[in-house]
Symmetry: C2
Subunit: 474 residues, 2 copies
């Protein structure tokens, strides 16, 4: 039995019918993997990630965060679904199916994950016929981006030949604790931190009620006047239907672009591409604000020692996206300056401190504040703290294999919430970078247009860089 951390359980409290708090992915595998092979392979390794066979138990009266217990009724068949893509088996069918799966909340009475095995990818460019896709969904309370990368490592191999995984040792399941035991354990937890609590609680309550829970991970000594984000159509209440798509870009091409501006990182180039697409999308709808958009960029703060246990240890960086600038090269130059400054602020606060802070929101306060935020439509009345979330998780740059079949691409999905209707999860894997806009039907019904703008923004930036190089040569 293991208590959830404050940040992990906040993802449970934040969850509403319109805001399922799972992260997801779409992986494509080359060659004809069958569902039975997939199930057998996965069953043999599932014990490497204990969280996948654990479920939540809630503490009576909500005086403590929930606990994870080994699920005595775990049944893998409830978590694996097998289907095929409807005709013509093209990217549009896959994108729609994936969006539908992402729209359905996970069942809280079971371990918080689900895989959908999809056959029939018959008409997707660069994907050989007979390839299969796996849509995955894991609750944010059970995993974060970095843990996700670790899971890739657990379940996949770096060679075509699968490595030997030692079978599970016979294990004895802990009995499910009674309500009384849970109350006792929670009271003990509470007693251990009585002196630290009151001040933190007061501060947390104040800031949570004022601006929604998310403000707790905002670097608060960044001057508000600078960092205040403009209102945009992206920052409204979200609907239940997810709209998801992806833009795949060549990583070597992106890497080449960063050399155009001294000191620019790969991340700066990616942000410039996002900036270009956001500017074009909003401009076209006559909804581009004068002030530049602000992106929130989560940063993993887990230390090496903490890598074994999954869980969220994240702080945040706020970055100004120069959407008020038309020239892609000038966008990149400004971004390079902005992110450098952003990192300094974040470094000054101290990542560990932010994490500890998030660990102290007992009494279901998180849930109530988040609900209040949603219910009162607070997001309608104050300026957003940021306009878009961009998560950039670097993955392995070598091919991964699952049961001998090469993974061709990995694309991510992440939760959106009221006031924050667009998130851009970015993964790089084996020379391919995927940017996967995740939004909803009332905020970005035309998400495919946006993903096209992402691809085209990369082309435009590349053209500017080439033009610059030619100029230099002269």
């Amino acid at each position: 039995m293991q208590a959830l951390t404050g940040l992990d359980s906040s993802f449970l409290y934040l969850e509403t019918p319109n805001m399922p708090m799972h992260v997801g992915g779409l992986d494509i595998y080359e060659g004809s993997l069958t569902f039975d092979e997939f199930k057998e392979f996965f069953s043999k390794r599932i014990h490497l990630a204990p969280r996948l066979r654990q479920r939540l138990i809630e503490v009576p009266l909500s005086i403590d965060h929930p606990y994870w217990i080994d699920d005595p009724d775990f049944n893998i068949d409830l978590h694996l679904q097998h289907m095929a893509l409807p005709k013509p088996g093209d990217w549009k069918s896959l994108r729609k199916l994936t969006s539908h799966v992402f729209s359905q909340p996970l069942n809280r009475s079971r371990p918080l994950w689900e895989f959908v095995f999809v056959e029939g990818l018959e008409n997707i460019p660069q994907v050989p016929k007979g390839s299969v896709a796996v849509i995955s969904k894991i609750h944010h309370a059970a995993i974060d981006g970095a843990s996700g990368a670790e899971m890739l490592g657990l379940l996949f191999d770096v060679t075509k030949e699968p490595r030997e995984v030692p079978p599970e040792k016979p294990r004895e399941l802990e009995p499910i604790p009674s309500d009384i035991n849970l109350l006792y354990k929670s009271t003990m937890n509470y007693i251990k931190r009585p002196f630290k609590l009151p001040g933190l609680l007061y501060e947390t309550a104040k800031s949570t009620l004022a601006a929604g829970k998310i403000s707790r991970i905002q670097p608060s000594d960044v001057p508000r006047t600078i960092m205040n984000a403009p209102r945009t159509i992206l920052n409204q209440a979200v609907s239940a239907e997810r709209k998801w798509d992806t833009a795949l870009l060549s990583l070597p091409r992106i890497k080449a672009l960063k050399n155009a501006v001294e000191g620019a990182t790969l991340n700066d180039v990616v942000m410039a591409i996002c900036t270009g697409a956001l500017r074009r999308y909003l401009l076209e709808k006559n909804e581009l604000p004068d002030k530049p958009l602000i992106a929130m960029v989560p940063v993993s703060t887990r230390t090496k020692d903490e890598k074994d246990d999954m869980g969220n240890q994240v702080s945040a960086m706020l970055v100004q996206l120069p959407t008020d600038e038309e020239d892609p090269l000038k966008q990149l130059i400004r971004l390079q300056a902005n992110t450098k400054r952003g990192k300094q602020y974040q470094g000054a606060i101290g990542a560990k401190q932010l994490t500890e802070y998030a660990d102290f929101v007992p009494f279901g306060l998180g849930a109530q504040a988040a609900r209040l935020y949603t219910r009162m439509n607070v997001s309608k009345y104050h300026s957003p703290l940021f306009n878009v979330i961009i998560t950039n998780v670097p993955g392995p740059q070598i091919p991964l294999y699952m049961n001998g079949k090469k993974m061709l691409a990995h694309m991510g999905m992440a939760p959106i919430f009221d006031g924050m209707g667009l998130i851009l999860p970015i993964f790089s894997y084996n020379g391919v970078l995927s940017i996967s806009p995740t939004s909803c039907s009332n905020i970005m019904p035309d998400v495919s247009k946006f993903s096209r703008y992402l691809r085209e923004a990369a082309n435009t930036l590349e053209a500017s860089v080439l033009a610059l190089d030619k100029k230099k040569e002269k």
Copy 2:
């Protein structure tokens, strides 16, 4: 805004993670209906069944049953899923997919139904290639068997050419009531029936706590000593994974069989087939009890006036299945006598009275009693009241069309619960009778074997009847 009846809301209270309380169906359509056609057709008629765009709101403090309200956020795309059957597109793939869909509980924050449109039925005998299937799921609180038959009537046509359905008049959505309004309305409801309540409440509490909620619809003046059911492997706690299959039988063949025994009805013949299959299945596992099994057979008690509003108005008949008898013809003779007696008992109590009784279980007592029943594993310690549920809903005996495509078959699915791990929903439609055993992975993992036994029991009974006819001729 409309309050749920006592019986309807009891299906909400009874629901647990292992016991989703929806009814379902699998329909197969001839010819190449596309998903877009299906969606357009369905969207144009959905206003004929108002419940499909309503969702629940719960009353604070649980002092009254929940209410239905028009869902201001209704979005049909969240309720329609589009997929294809994995290869080879045979009955086994369809049965597995259907079982998986039936295993997933409905999302209570949305209107309580879901359709899955399935292409790729390439290898199912008697189903033309290119045909499609629709798996449907509707919460039992929103619909019962008879309402289901009405829904068929709303959404389907008796001619290939779809009839004109008048478009919906512009409607004004009621505002979602605040907690205060709900409390006021509930208190008023409560005040209107103060004198009737206490006695009924006491009686209900007593019987509910003693034997689980289901006892309320047992005809209590049937002597317990006669009607007590034996313990069987079917009467255990259920698991979350549904196992579902179907046996399709020719209705004219079944009808011919009833003439073999004077006074026998079609229902008696169907019960004889179920008896034969149950006997063989349990005998083979060395689990056949000496005493005959008892079936609970729900009977719709709605009057003609009540047909417009959906909702459950059901009473029950208990029927002894002669599983202790080997000879199929003698089984039928005994069943004819048993069901006649069963109907007399039920008639004596009065259907309307039973229904009213179920309307008085306030204060969340239903939920608590049902949970208590499950948690204490009461079902392990006392004899079951009955062993199996058999629901027989007669459908139209003419072909139905959906957007010009003929429905080839309709198969049902119904909820099981702890202590009652097998239900046999039976539908007849256009000359075909479907018996669709619905169970779970720990009670009947080999449900396909049982459905084969159903088909073979029909053959055996037919052979006996033919042998009898020959004897008579001599």
